[in-house]
């Protein structure tokens, strides 16, 4: 009995880890990068006070933050086909996660940009630099340092949230576990195991964050 469980855990470890490495991690990384790009645009049109676009940005953040991620996944994967838009599971998941991350981290970035000591944008203007030049070379590098810890927070959250993609048929780490559990009738052991693997991933990420912070010398005054 005990032996059987140990063998199961050992065998399933690879069966869970492989989709973790091949699906969960790429899904997280791609969605996060796209999400940050969306967030940057969303934050900048608000900072630049671009009329129309600013309202659109607020509307987007309002919708995405006000509805559950699971519902968003369902709308995009199961709902959009009603409108004639059929997406494969992975693209649908990437879209849903990027939009979700984009909305939340746009607020992180917006706050970070606003936290950069003021007047530097105007100083940029006064030496002839444009809004985008000053943003890119002066404001965003400082904002990024401020935003780094909360952005990493969002990254860690997303790593775990990708498990929701199991609901729209993406064969990632959690779905792989569900399948093994259904076959072997050992849900307790297997769900603990997948939880442990998520914890492992997040531990690595936490280390990465500390390393990143040291590189950015956030800890120095």
């Amino acid at each position: 009995m005990e032996d059987r469980l140990v063998t199961l855990l050992l065998q399933s470890f690879a069966q869970i880890l492989v989709p973790g490495l091949l699906v969960t991690i790429p899904l997280t990384v791609v969605s996060f990068i796209l999400g940050i790009l969306v967030a940057l645009g969303t934050a900048l049109v608000q900072i630049a006070e671009l009329r129309g676009l600013k309202q659109l940005a607020r509307f987007y953040v309002w919708i995405v933050r006000g509805t559950p991620l699971l519902v968003q996944l369902y709308i995009i994967f199961y709902g959009l086909p009603n409108l004639g838009i059929k997406l494969d599971a992975i693209p649908a998941a990437i879209i849903a996660f990027s939009l979700n991350v984009g909305a939340y981290t746009s607020e992180t970035l917006r706050a970070a940009i606003l936290a950069v000591p003021g007047g530097q944008l105007e100083a940029g203007y006064c030496v002839g630099m444009s809004f985008s030049q000053t943003m890119r070379r002066i404001i965003l590098p400082q904002a990024f340092k401020i935003a780094f810890p909360p952005l990493f927070n969002s990254f860690i959250s997303l790593t775990k949230d990708t498990s929701l993609a199991a609901n729209i048929t993406v064969l990632e780490m959690f779905m792989a576990t569900q399948r093994i559990a259904a076959r072997t009738y050992e849900p307790f052991a297997l769900y603990c195991e997948v939880g442990f693997i998520y914890l492992l991933f997040c531990t690595v990420l936490t280390r990465l964050q500390s390393y990143g912070e040291r590189r950015l010398s956030l800890n120095k005054a």
């Binding site: 030496v127 030049q133 070379r137």
Partner: protein, 250 residues
């Protein structure tokens, strides 16, 4: 060279500048005096389009601009040809002193880095910071930061430099080093428009003094006229108060 006419600026319903005119000739050192809230900062910022004035015109050599209708290209040209020194320095905090000075040369003026750095080093040397080129703003004293601010403004070789109370954020013992740099620039013929409460600077360096109050120019003239023979009661009152404060500090 530079002529502002009938400038009106509102913040909401509050009219902060009520038809201000200003003329600056090449080589002028114009000092603008006036009580807090009289619109001095707003005037400088409007000329540089950091604020959008509702009415008025700017003539800058061959440029003629109606403030509310300024085009992006014109705004950029004015900014390229002027310098601005802020009360709070507004240095680029992620850049060294040298990079602060070269940034505009490299990104806005597209100078090669080597050339920009040569200009930048010369500018920093001029303000007495030859030994602080690689320091970040946080590693510099207020007076040093403001001198970097001045170096940044002169590096682009502007036709006129605007100074908005460049010494008022500084501890008293650091004011002198900044004023000394400004005096040096004035002696070299730099055209300057300076908002300041430093009467000694106004008396010894300015060739024109403008007294503003309540969003209008109350009186203007040579330093001698303003300081010894002001015509307007408001000017006299202001000068008496400033002098009392100076005595009080001493």
């Amino acid at each position: 060279m530079l002529r502002v006419e009938n400038l009106h600026k509102f913040f909401g319903a509050n009219e902060v500048l009520k038809g201000v005119s200003l003329e600056v000739d090449k080589g002028d050192v114009v000092v603008i005096l006036g009580p807090s809230g009289s619109g001095k900062t707003t005037l400088l910022r409007s000329i540089n389009f950091l604020e959008t004035a509702e009415q008025g015109t700017l003539q800058f050599d061959d440029l003629h601009i109606h403030f509310p209708e300024a085009e992006k290209k014109q705004i950029r040209e004015v900014r390229m040809r002027t310098g601005f020194v802020f009360q709070n320095y507004n240095l680029f905090l992620n850049k060294t002193a040298l990079a602060n000075v070269t940034e505009g040369l490299i990104t806005a003026r597209k100078l090669p880095r080597a050339e920009a750095e040569q200009i930048g080093r010369a500018a920093l040397q001029k303000v007495g910071l030859g030994d602080r080129m690689e320091y970040y703003p946080q590693q510099l004293s207020g007076g040093q930061q403001q001198r970097v601010g001045i170096a940044r403004a002169i590096a682009t070789n502007p036709e006129v430099i605007f100074f908005d109370e460049p010494t008022s954020a500084l501890d008293p013992e650091l004011i002198g080093e900044v004023l000394a740099v400004m005096k040096k620039l004035a002696r070299e013929g730099t055209t300057m428009v300076v908002v300041t409460h430093e009467m000694s600077f106004a008396q010894s360096v300015a060739n024109k003094v403008i007294f503003m109050a309540g969003g209008v120019v109350v009186e203007e003239g040579t330093p001698r006229q303003i300081f010894t023979a002001a015509r307007e009661e408001r000017t006299k009152q202001f000068l008496r108060r400033i002098n009392r404060e100076v005595e009080y500090i001493i």
